[in-house]
């Protein structure tokens, strides 16, 4: 039997993509989940079929998960702790959260 017929290694999976769905105008794209996709068009279609078919959807963004730059747990202390006792430094101390009027206008 040729090698191509053996089961793929776990890392032979298609690329992982993060999916962001906008439900209507004037709302932000929100993270909906992740899907696998062979390439951008395939991933976009998969995102549509998994996340957008049932609900109300205005637009979909996808981005390959590898392209997201994120903090690590090791960063937590130096990144976040210094501000945790100074809530007035956070923009949302003064005003809105995502669900507030700010986004609906």
């Amino acid at each position: 039997m040729s090698k191509t017929n053996s089961l793929p290694e776990p890392n032979d999976q298609w690329n992982l993509w993060e999916v962001f769905i906008q439900e209507s105008d004037n709302e932000p794209h929100r993270h909906a989940g992740s899907i696998r996709g062979a390439d951008a068009e395939n991933a976009l279609q998969n995102a549509r079929d998994v996340f957008a078919r049932r609900g109300k959807t205005k637009s979909i963004w996808i981005v390959q998960s590898d392209h997201i730059v994120a903090t690590t747990t090791g960063d937590s202390a130096s990144f976040f702790d210094p501000t945790s006792d100074k809530v007035y430094r956070h923009p949302h101390f003064y005003k809105h959260t995502l669900d507030d009027e700010l986004w609906k206008k």
């Binding site: 068009e41 395939n42 998969n46």
Partner: protein, 255 residues
Amino acid sequence: MEKIKTPALSEYLIRLADDRLILGHRLSEWCGHAPILEEDIALTNIALDCIGQANFLYSTAAESEGNNRTADEIVYFREALEYRNLLLVEQPNIDFASTIVRQLLYDTYGILLYEQLQQSTFKPLAGIAQKAVKELRYHFRHSSQWLLRLGDGTVESHLRTQNAVDKLWKYTDEMFISDAVEVELAAKGIAVKSEALKERWFTIMRDLISSATLTVPVQGSFIRKGGREGKHSEHLGHLLSEMQIVARSYPDIVW
């Protein structure tokens, strides 16, 4: 609204519905078996679109007959001989490549057909067509993208896809036969003469198949047809026996 009640109208609507139902059922057979979870969901979504369109068409057919037949009765209690779908849509899945090629051959035809049916003088059909066209355009996007990937993919995917194109091509001429029912309804502006769709269909298919680095088959002199008269391949009987078993074993069951 003008009432149009002719056997031809019901016959035509049932044909359209049977095409959608049988193709949808074939796709539903992939549920739980597709190569990857996302594709499993995609194929079953498309299956649901097809069966949803069929449901509207059956109900409209029953209404036009002026009797109380329900869509379920039409679907579950007819024999293969009474089914009017194209032979193409009843062909088995075989592999992913065959499924995609069968889908693409129909999707391309479906878009051309339902685009025109949006202008049908029979308003309920025009309404169904408007919804169907949107869905078919997505189905086409899905199947045409896969054709390009499979044809221009690995040696194996190329071979399997070419094989599917070669095997299914002989069923495509049946889509473009305009018989007495179609001609009668087309004269009233209700139906579309499908023979008029062939040229555009062929151009689109030829370009897509070539882009996928595949070869367009030469149409043989022997055309596979008969679906519209109930002369089906052996595959439809097996499909129906599975689809109808519950409804026939427990008539009037509700779920």
